[in-house]
Symmetry: C2
Subunit: 735 residues, 2 copies
Amino acid sequence: MDIAALLTSAGINIGLCVVLFSLYSILRKQPSNRVVYFGRRLATVRIRSDDFFSIERFVPSPSWILKAWETTEEEILSIGGLDALAFQRTLVFSIRIFSIAAIICLLLVLPMNYYGKEMQHKQIPAESLDVFTIGNVKEGSRWLWAHCLALYVISCGACVLLYFEYKSITEMRLAHIIKSPLNPSHFTVLVRSIPWSPEESYSDSVKKFFANYYASSYLSHQIVYHRGIIQKLMADAEKMCKMIMPVPIDGKSLRPCCLSADNTTSFKILSSELGSVKDSISYNDLDIATRENECPVAFVFFKTRYSAVVATQVLQSSNPMLWVTELAPEPHDVLWSNLSIPYRQLWLRKIATLLAAIVFMFLFLIPVTFVQGLTQLDKLSRTFPFLRGLLKKDFMNHVVTGYLPSVILMLFLYTVPPMMMLFSSVEGHVSRSGRKRSAGLKVLYFTIWNVFFVNVLSGSIISQLNVFSSVRDIPTQLAKAIPTQASFFMTYVLTSGWASLACELMQLFPLSINMFKKFILRNKEDCSDDLMTFPYHTEVPRVLLFGLIGFTCAIMAPLILPFLLVYFFMAYLVYRNQILNVYIPKYEGGGHFWPIVHKTTIFSLVLTQIIAIGVFGIKRSPIASGFTFPLVICTLLFNEYCRQRFAPVFKRDAVQVLIDMDRRDEQSGRMKEIHQQLNSAYCQIPMTSHELCASAHGGVNKIEDPEGAGAGTELNELTETCAVVNFGGETSTEN
Amino acid sequence: MDIAALLTSAGINIGLCVVLFSLYSILRKQPSNRVVYFGRRLATVRIRSDDFFSIERFVPSPSWILKAWETTEEEILSIGGLDALAFQRTLVFSIRIFSIAAIICLLLVLPMNYYGKEMQHKQIPAESLDVFTIGNVKEGSRWLWAHCLALYVISCGACVLLYFEYKSITEMRLAHIIKSPLNPSHFTVLVRSIPWSPEESYSDSVKKFFANYYASSYLSHQIVYHRGIIQKLMADAEKMCKMIMPVPIDGKSLRPCCLSADNTTSFKILSSELGSVKDSISYNDLDIATRENECPVAFVFFKTRYSAVVATQVLQSSNPMLWVTELAPEPHDVLWSNLSIPYRQLWLRKIATLLAAIVFMFLFLIPVTFVQGLTQLDKLSRTFPFLRGLLKKDFMNHVVTGYLPSVILMLFLYTVPPMMMLFSSVEGHVSRSGRKRSAGLKVLYFTIWNVFFVNVLSGSIISQLNVFSSVRDIPTQLAKAIPTQASFFMTYVLTSGWASLACELMQLFPLSINMFKKFILRNKEDCSDDLMTFPYHTEVPRVLLFGLIGFTCAIMAPLILPFLLVYFFMAYLVYRNQILNVYIPKYEGGGHFWPIVHKTTIFSLVLTQIIAIGVFGIKRSPIASGFTFPLVICTLLFNEYCRQRFAPVFKRDAVQVLIDMDRRDEQSGRMKEIHQQLNSAYCQIPMTSHELCASAHGGVNKIEDPEGAGAGTELNELTETCAVVNFGGETSTEN
């Protein structure tokens, strides 16, 4: 591929981005698309129904970019939670480090590469991209010290930036915990694998155990019931409601209460005057709470945060498979369907899904190897002779080599996150955030393996699969492969990177569903129940993949850096806009993606350094090779230090902080109130997503309304308009 | 090597063993050697000084074997602690599983190997050992199903036995914790990395922190002082004592008290009437407790076991590098010299010692590769032409090939444990048992790598070191190597195994030191201060290595099994005898070597199975290969199950057990007494080993005297006779 092909690709993508961004700025102004582009706002505040026609609505404008740019970190934190902020910090970190890398590599390394060999240079547009890579530096050249220096600058810069980011996110996490005093999950312990006893029910066992061993701090508990039972009960209740009141849906919603430890099961009918309960029917005779329907799982509530955290950290029983405790997820974060999985199955499920994910990863090699063939044009025209005429045209040639492979790969990659989400569901996580984190890790490993390594290794030297039969040659193999694959990665950044941002902004899938609803089904209501949470499990791995590509290519093929910088900057704006407008934070992960970001960045750095050692070895510069070794060791030591210093805070809460919070609440007399809230916090019957988001905002996040209007009263109107009882599709809003 | 050479080697070793065992049975009857062979008994009870001459003293007798055989497990437990019992269980497990293996392999596999190929068999003594290995089975033979079946029986047998052993040792560990109510370490938390503050001393910081956050359970604390200061103070005190009382040694011992939190530092002079304190000098004006001399380390005492364990399990501060808590080791288990190591250095030290141990492991390759050359006789006579005449003799030939290599290797191996102990000391463990465990792990890795793998791989096919450049070929390589190396392993079992047991029994090094003292220095006293604890860090890896050799060779070269069985049986008797008579249990590890034994056995099994897959592959029996795969997976799953089910009990104590113990003590009113004992439990000034063992037996272990005499009164007489003030060699008794 030459510079002209690269520019063609860049041109296509810039054009596409401009068109899509403009289209977005028009579409977002249409009232009918509000539910697609302002889902979060719609959930929190009531937007005026200004359906009148104006010409402004059809003129593209950059106002959203300005707004995204101007939003402060505090706003992001209050709107999207700490997870969103940590993701933003990832992008800021990437912009910073690749700015440093771009400056040093374009000014120092690129000229060294270009003039690295005594050769007749063509005009720049016709110059092959290989001329700009380290492959063009002749063997034993003294100019390799420049590459070594650039590597030092990039590594040290990355470590320093990473340290300060880790530090500030740790501090933010602590501040976030301190500032969220009403989080019921802090007081709640999830107890699994309650031992079965022939004399008493699980509920009695739990009560006996905790009243005995945690007498001073145990408050109450709530047994989890089998899911099928709950659903049957709900259906019965609905039928009964219909019998009692013939018009139950209009203006009233059936709101289930919790099945609490006192074995009373009551349903309250909420009228439109929210808060005044009209009727309360007690189904004590319904045998929901019989022993057969109990799962050996319970939420146990403690009087203080400290005692809850203590109960999760210690080993309860001399049989470690019984009375297994962990801190409960937030109420909206609980994945009820997984709670009934027997605890003793979990380790088997983990191993099975791990194996399944690995198998899936390797099966995926088949399309990837095919895609890689496309960059080699002659191979392609040999395989598909009918394309030969088409490929002879210059433009088509550029499109096929520069564009098509990445597009195909990208389409295949879209199947991966749902697959990994499925694996993580089967794995048995009890929280949505835990499932998302696990899926994110799987997607990350998958992307790094299938996009990075397989492309590097299959596309260049080795088409056979036995590339890893010789362990020692890996650095050399990678060193040979990376510069030659630089052109593929550049087009990958342009297509998968830039275009994916435009797609993310456009929300193509929800947009078309909305169009279908509005214009085919003629559904006029603005409210939909598929409000989405931020898809960290796809976006974090994507950003990290581009980071990996950036680090490894930085000193080998510096031309990639400007494209990457543009990607990161656009991502910064686009994701800010999406956090502000589209996604709702149903639950809070507390920035639990950051340790993954940190580790992956360290991995990228070390990989870059190992590849550099290989390259310096190939170029016969043992001094540069030798100088790079200490860098690898220092980077690993830095990682170990961060692991010691910061990582434990992301796994366990410090008791010092918790005890201080407990005391503060006790002194202010809020503890009583919190204890009362606890009993109804965990509700096994799924609520509608509006209720979910409303309570998430009201209870947990304490959002400051960016529009300046109080959320409280408007929220009531909102729930009034769209009171939908949604019992089923709990997971549908997730992916 | 042929059968005759093997029998020569076996003959030499049997002779040697008989001679040494007889010699032992005579030497142990000599009163002058009592201190060598009855160190433990001497420490607990007073043995009658029956120095009169009798002929019986010079007649070998098997009485010690009988006594060792008759001792019950309860006695072992009460005398040697749980660690000794777990070690005994390891040997019992080995005897059982290798009995099963021997039966099936000798009856089923050995004939298959011998008649595996159509060939002219020589007479048995002249038959090469290779004829008895799987190498003799022809390719594609149907008889390989016998090997596959044997592998299944051995694997399943091992897993079942391992499961029951793990279960019973876990139960014993729990029972041991419940039965030891006076262990001060249960109430004590070691706090490290106390933050420095300019306003207050570390002691004040600790008091403030724990009185604030653990107000209801905090009892008191004890700051650790810099070691140099303590030693200076002790020297001063000794001088002063000499000035005050000109004859301080005879009949009186200087017994230091603890430096407790109330900042009084007192030394008590113990007279021969134990318990009546004659004089007590308080050195309040000595500025030992000034801030400069404090380490940021403290022992914090809690009121209950439960609160202590809670304080160790939770994260104290939002900075995980401050207020680091762990359960304190037992008083005699504390490694005071390592307490003053700053906590923030620990991770660096761990990495450094890991690297150093790895470097040491690879440097060790040099003598090992040389030793392996000795088994190839022609190579040897080429290297050392002057030996050629000697080597032509048949007997010398047998000795050199069958005996010499193992002896040289064994001598080199003797340098390893002290080296690994040194590494583990530098690593910064705060307890002797922890250091021993860590050293044991290092020795284990070392032995498995240097004795097993390097011998297998260097001696057979590949003399170069790039054996691991190709990962995939490892099973095949091993499969080719193991049968050919079987002869080496047989001689290794005979020499290193049998002979090392005889050496262990003879206690050659202490014996010669004792001889030197008695006959050269004319020192008549029986008491020495070098009483030893059981060297688990050398003996556990040795037994595990023989297990590994046994498993891997079982179906490849079944002839090794009888020799191994003899080894394990002898080990069972010898180690029992040593536990009964020689070693004292200064501290209790709670069977913490068992998880290592379990994991190593699983590793051996899986390695055996992988090698079997390789062998079946070479022998072109894909069905047998295919049948072995599920076995590998099942073994790994079994290991994972045991890790889930049993391993946590070895890391953390169950609060259910601890709370029950606390309640029992509170109801019986013993809690007060325990709290009083706590203040003086941790004494930073080293005591003599007699005091150590006396208090260990009196306080912690509650030994039942096997001789029937009460230990109490005789103990006093003992301390009277040998009251030696020993301030220095704290670690000298360890290795």
